[in-house]
Point group: C2
Chain length 215, copies 2
C-alpha cells in the first residue's frame, strides 16, 4: 500500500531529532494537548449568546473579591486592553448579567456585580463540563494535573513577559488602599499557579485563592 513511498519531509526532519526515539515524548504531547484543548474549550464557550471573552469575564467577576471586580481588574486578568474590556463589560451589562455601580471611594472606578441573572448564567458555565469530566478521574491523577498545569501556567506567565496577567498582584494592588498594604511591597504570587500565599493576612485575599477563604 504505498502509504509511505516518497515520504514527507516531516519524517526526515524527525529523524535527526535527538528526542525522536520511540519514547512518546510527553512534553510534546502535553503541548499539543494544551493547544487543542484550548481550541475546544474556546469553541465550547460560544453558547447562550455569549462569547469566550464574555464567559471568561463573567467567570472572573464571579470569583473576584469586591475590590477586583472592576473593568481594570478584568482587563488585567484577561490580558486585554481596557478598551476591549469596556466593550465586553458593556455587552454583559446590556444582557443584564452584571450591574455597574460607581465607586464612592474613587469616582473614577466602577464596581461590578453579577445580577441574579448573571448568577443563573454562571451556573450554566459551559466549561463546567470539564470539571465534571475531571471529577470522574481518580483523585491522584487530578491532583497531579493541577500541580503540573499550575506550574506550567506559572512558567508561562513568566515567559509571556514582564506583565504576566499578574492576577494576584493586580488584585492586591486594588485591595491595597483599603487594606493598608503598601503598593510598593512585594505581594505573593497567584495561588492558582501553585505559589503559597506568603503573607497570611486574609485581607490580601485575591481572586485566585478567594475560593478557600472568607471575605
Amino acid at each position: 500500500m504505498t502509504v509511505n513511498d516518497g515520504q514527507s519531509p516531516s519524517e526526515t526532519a524527525k529523524n535527526d531529532d535527538p528526542m525522536a526515539g520511540e519514547t512518546p515524548d510527553h512534553a510534546a504531547r502535553v503541548a499539543e494537548l494544551i493547544d487543542r484543548l484550548g481550541r475546544m474549550t474556546r469553541e465550547l464557550q460560544y453558547v447562550d449568546g455569549l462569547n469566550p471573552a464574555q464567559w471568561e469575564a463573567l467567570r472572573y467577576l464571579n470569583r473576584a473579591n469586591r475590590y477586583s471586580r472592576t473593568p481594570g481588574g478584568v482587563a488585567d486578568f484577561l490580558g486585554a486592553t481596557k478598551g476591549t474590556i469596556s466593550q465586553t463589560v458593556s455587552a454583559l451589562e446590556s444582557k443584564g448579567l452584571i450591574a455597574r455601580t460607581p465607586s464612592d471611594r474613587d469616582k473614577r472606578v466602577c464596581l461590578i456585580d453579577l445580577t441574579a441573572e448573571g448568577e443563573r448564567m454562571i451556573a450554566r458555565d459551559p466549561v463546567r463540563c470539564i470539571e465534571t469530566i475531571v471529577g470522574g478521574m481518580d483523585d491522584r491523577t487530578a491532583a497531579l494535573m493541577v500541580d503540573g498545569l499550575g506550574r506550567l501556567m506559572a512558567s508561562l506567565q513568566f515567559e509571556l513577559g514582564s506583565k504576566p496577567f499578574g492576577v494576584c498582584a493586580a488584585c492586591c494592588r486594588h485591595l491595597a488602599p483599603e487594606a493598608g498594604c503598601k503598593k510598593s511591597e512585594a505581594v505573593p504570587k497567584c495561588g492558582m499557579t501553585g505559589e503559597p500565599l506568603q503573607g497570611d493576612a486574609p485581607q490580601r485575599i485575591c481572586v485566585n485563592y478567594l475560593g478557600d477563604a472568607a471575605e
Copy 2:
C-alpha cells in the same frame, strides 16, 4: 525562573484558613487552568506574522500524512468551515509557507506541502515553549498529565457532538480509497486521546499517532 520550585502547591497555601478543610476541588481547578492556559496559548501564537489558526493549520500540515494534508483535512481537524480554512490556507500560501498542488487522483482536491520556509517556520513554533517547560518536569508528572489531558480531550470530543473534530476518522476516511479500508468499518480512535490503535495495520496511520509509529 519562578519561585515555585520545590513546594507542594495544593496544600501549603491554606494553612490557617478555615475553609481550607473543604476539598481543594481539583476538578474545578483543572477546568480553570485549562481555560486560562488556552487563552495564554492563544496569545502566545500571535507571532511571526501568523495568527493562532494559521499556526495550528501549519502544525497540522506538518504532522499529517500525505492524504490528510488537504484543506478539508485541516478543516476537520480544526473544526472550522471549509471557507474559513480556505482563507487560512491561502494566507499560509501567500506567505510562502506551504504549496498547493492539485491531486491527479481526484481533481477536486489539492494536496498541501510545507515549503522549506514552512519547515523553518514550524521549527520556531511558539507552543514549543510549553514543550520545554513540561520537559523540565519530572517524567511521572508529565506522563500523568498526558494521560489525564488525553482522557479529558477524548471525553470532550465526545461531548462536543457527533462530529468531534474526528481527526482520526477523517484521516482514515481520506486514506481509505487508497488503502482499501472501508468507510463503514469502525476505525480506532485517535491515538492522541490515549486510545490505542487497535487495528495494527500501518496503513491506517493517522496524524495523531504518526509520531510514534514507523511510517
